[in-house]
Amino acid sequence: MDVVTAKELTYQERIERLRATKMRHTEEKWRDIGVLDMDDHGLILPPVGSRRYVQVISGSGVPMKDALFADFTPKSNHPSGGIFGARACGENFHALLEMHPTYVDPVSSLAGCYMVNFLSYRQPAWNPDFDFSHLKVEHELYGLHHGIGAVQHFCQDMTIGFTLGWGGILAKIKKYRMINRDEEAQELYDGLEHFVLGMQTWIEKTARAAREMAEVEEHPQLRENLIQIADMNDRLIASPPQTFREACQWMLWYQLAGKMYNMGGSLGRIDQFLYPFYVRDVERAILNDEEAIFHLACHFVMDTSYTQLGGPDASGNDSTNRLSYLVLEAVHRLKIPVNVGVSVGEKVDPALLRRGVEILFEDKTGIPKFLGVDRTSEGFARNGYPPALGRERAYSGCHWCALPGREYTVNDCVKINLARVFEVALQEMLADTSVTPSMAAVWGRFERHVRRSVAVVATGLDFHIDHMYRVFPELHLDLLCHGPIERGRDASHGGVEYVNLCVDGSGLATVADSFAALEKNLELETRYTWGQMRQFLASDWDGPEGERARLMMRKTARYGSGGSRADEYAVRISNIFTAAVKEKPTPHGYNMIPGLFSWAANLLLGKDVGATPNGRHAHAMISHGPNPDPGFRKDAAPTALALAVAAVQPGYGNTAPMQVDFDPGVSGSQESIDSIAALIRTHFDLGGTQVNINILDKKRLLEAHEDPSRHPGLVVRVTGFSAFFGSLSPEMRQMVVDRILSQE
C-alpha cells in the first residue's frame, strides 16, 4: 500500500475532499443541464449513459432542464399520463427508490445522495380533472403565481423521526390504518407505507454497498469508516438514531428523500433537535467538537437546506447553544451555498450575530443570513395566536418560517405581481374616456385591483386545498408532522393543526417609483400629458423622445432615497396590500399572512409586465422583494435601505427581507464588522424581519459573469437563497452584477 494514501486524513482534509467532489458534481451539472436559477439542492446527476432529459417547471416554479434515469418509467394512473393521489405517488416513489443507485463516499461519515427529481417524472403536474379554468382569466390578467399545485414549503418536526425511526413510523401508520378506515385515510396510508418501505430499501442497499466497498478499500481509516457507515445504516433501517452521527445520517436520508420527492426539505432548528444527541455523545466522550463539525459538514455538502440557529424558545429565552456555533463553523469550512440563518433578537446571544458577520466577511458567500426573530414571532401573534406559538415558528425556507410539524403554509409559492396589478389599473384608467386621468384615479383603481387580485388568490388557495391531496400529497412531510398519520389526512387537507397561507406581494419599488414619477412629471411639473405617457408606455419608450422621457421619469426621487414621495407611496402600497390580505380569510375560512417577497421570480414576473412609468422597459425584471431598485440613492446608503425596508413590513409574521450588497470597499476590519452587525440589529429594532447580505469582490464577480468557469467556486446570495454564481442564468447573474455595480 502506498504510504501517502495510507496517511490518516484529518477532518479538515476530508472536508476539503468533499468540497472538491461537490465542485466536480456542480460543474458537471453546469455542463449537462445548464443553468439553474434556484437553490443548489445538492443533487448529483444520474450515472453517465443512463440519463434522459426533460424540460419541466421546478417546485419553485422555475423552468428547468432536468436529467432523469433513462431506465425508470413511472406507472401513470390517469389518461393524461399523470401520477395522482397518495397511492400512485407512493407506489411510484417506492419504485424509484428501489432502483435508485447507491452513493457512498468513503471520505464522508454519512452515506447517500439523490439523483433525480420525482417532480420531473410527474407530468402533467396537475390533475386536469380538477378544472380551474374559471380562475385562469384573472390569474393571467394579474400575472399571479397563484399557488394552485404548490408543493412542500412548510416544515416537519424532525424529532418525530428521531424518536420513531423508520420502523416506528411504519408501526404508527399500521396502527392508525386500523383506526381511520375511510377511503381518503386508507389511500394516504398506502402512499405513506410505500414511501417508508422505499426508504428502508434505499438505506438497506446503501449499507450493503458500503460493506462491499469496505472489503476492497485499502486505506485503513476509510475502510473503518465504510464499515461504520454500513453498521450504522443497518441499524437505521428500522431503529431510531442513538448517536449524533446516526442522527445526522437519519436527517440526511429524510432530507434527500424530500428533495427527490418534491424538492422539499426544510431543516428548521437544527441546533435544537440535534442538541440532545450532541450533549449525550460529548458526555459519553464519544464525540468532540471537531468530529461534530465534520458530521454536520458531511450533511450540508449533500443537503443545503434552510436552517435557523439560535432564537427564542417557547418561553422567550434564548436557545443559542454550542451546537449553533458548530453549525456555523461547518458551513464556514465548506464554503458552499448552505442556507443558514442566524437569529438576532433582544435576548439572543449577540456573539452569534457577530460570528455570523465575521463569516460573511471571511467567506464572501452571502452566508449566513440574519433573522429578526422577535419581529416575526410578534407579528405572527397578530394573527390571533399566543406569543409563545410565534416563537416556535422555525426559519426553514427562503424567506419563511413555519411551526415544525404543525402548520401548512404554501410559503413562498403565491406571488401577487403588484407591478402587473398597477399596469392593469393604469391602462384601465387611460382607456376610460369617461374619466379625467389623475393620480387619484390611478390610485383608486390600483387599490381596487389589489383587493381583487388577493380575492382571486384566496379562491385559488381554497381550490388548492380542496384538491391537492388527490393530486400530489405531501407524503414526505406528512411522515414527520403531528396529525396526518393520526387523522389519516394529508397536511394539505386537514392533516395539521394550523393553516396559515402565505401571500406575498412583489414589485413594490417598481410601483412606488412609478406612482412618484407620474405625480412629479405629469401632475406637479406637467412635463408630460397622460396621453403622451400612454404612448411612451405602449411603445416601450420608443425613439429619442421616448428615451428622454424614460430617463426623465427615472430621475424622480425613488423609494429608498428617504423622505421622498416614492417612500410614502411604498408605505401606502404595503398598507393596502396588507389590509387586502388581512381583511378576511379565504372564502373557506383559511388565514392568509402577507409578506413582501419576489424570491428570484422577479425576472419571470417582469416578463408579464409592459413598460412602467418608473422608466423600466417592458418585460424587464420588476424590483426585488421589498427592496428599492438599485441606484435608489447616490450613496446607496445601507441605512437608507434599512429604514425603507423596515417601513414597509406587513407585520404579521411573514417577512419582507432586506437584501444588501456591499462592494469589498467595506473591509473586514473590526469596525466594519461592528457596523454591519449594528446595521442588522437596528433594522430589526425598526421592524425588519430578515436580512440577506452579499459582500462581493466586484472584479471577481465581473470576471465570473463573463466566464463562469474562471471562478467556479464563487457563491453569491441571489435572494433568500445563495447559489454558485456559475449555476445561474445570464439574466440572474446580471441582476446580481447590477446590484453590486450600483454601489459605485
Binding site: P544, E547, R548, A549, R550, L551, M552, R554, K555, G562, G563, R633, D635, A637, P638, T639, A640, A642, L643, V666, S667, S669, E671, S672, D674, S675, A678, L679, R681, T682, D685, L686
Partner: protein, 311 residues
Amino acid sequence: MPSDLVFNIQRFTIHDGPGIRTTVFVKGCAMGCFWCHNPEGRHSYRELQYFEDRCIHCGECVHVCPSQAHDLRDGLHHFLRDRCRVTGECVKVCCSGALEMNGRVMTVDEVMEEVLRDRPFYQTSGGGVTISGGEPGLNADFVRGILGRCKGEGLHTAIETCGYCSWSALESLLPFTDLVMMDLKVITPEKHRLATGNTNEQILANARRLAATAMPIIFRTPIVPTVNDTVEEVRHIVAFIADLIALRTRGGANHRSRISYELLAFHKLGSVKYRSLGLEYHAIALDPPKRRHMEELLVLATEAGIEATMR
C-alpha cells in the same frame, strides 16, 4: 440661521469616526493637493459638473441655457465651461444625469433633517455625524451650527480638517466636537508647498494647539507616491506626532484623551470627478502604494509607540 454650500451628505460612512456615521461635506478648501479625491469640495462656490459618458446628446440643455454654455454640433453636445453662469437651468432638463450641480446652499435645519434620519443607527453603533469637506474650518459658523445641533440631539460629532484654517475658527468648533481627524501630509515645509500649494506652518501650529487641548485626535496621512511615501517623510510625521503625544502626556489632566494615527493609501477613485469639473487630474500616473509598503510605513508609527492603523 447659518447656511452654506454642501456638496454631499453621505450616509453609512464607517471610516470617518466611530460607528455608523453620516458625513456632511462642506464646500471650500484653501489647499490645492493635486491628488485630492474630493475635488468638488475645493471651490467655495457652486459649479456645474458635466459627466460626458452619461450624456445622450439630446440638446435640451442648449435650449434653456441663458448663457449659451451648451452647444450641439454634429449631434454631439459640447459644454463651454467658461461661458457657464451656473444658473442650473440645464440641470433641471437633463434627463440622463450628465449635468449636475455641485454644491447646494443648505440651512442647518435642512442638514439636520437628513442627518437625523439615521439616528437609530448611530445609537446602536456608537456612531454619529462627521463634518468633512472641503475644509470645515473655513465654514466655521455653519459647521458650528450643525455640530451644536448634533450635540443638542445627543449625537457623537467629529470633524475632518486639513488644518489649514485659522486657529480661532478651528477652536470655535471644539466645544461641539468629540473627535478631530486632522491631516498631516508632509512635515518638510518646501515639499508641503510643492504638493499642496501652501506652506504648513499654520497646519503644524494648529496641530500643536489642538494637542494641547483635551480633544481626542486622529492624525491622518494620505500616503501619496512622489509626495510622502518614503520612510524618511513618514518618520518626520511620526516624530512630530510622538512629540505631541509627549506634550499631551506632560499636560496632566488631558493625558487621557487619545492621539492616534492613520495611514491612508492614495487611490484614484476621484479621477472621474476631475473630468466632470473641467479640472486636470495630475495624479493620474501615480499608482496606489502596495499593501506591503503601507505595512512598512505603519511599523514606523507603532515602533514609536503610537497607536496606528492603515487602510
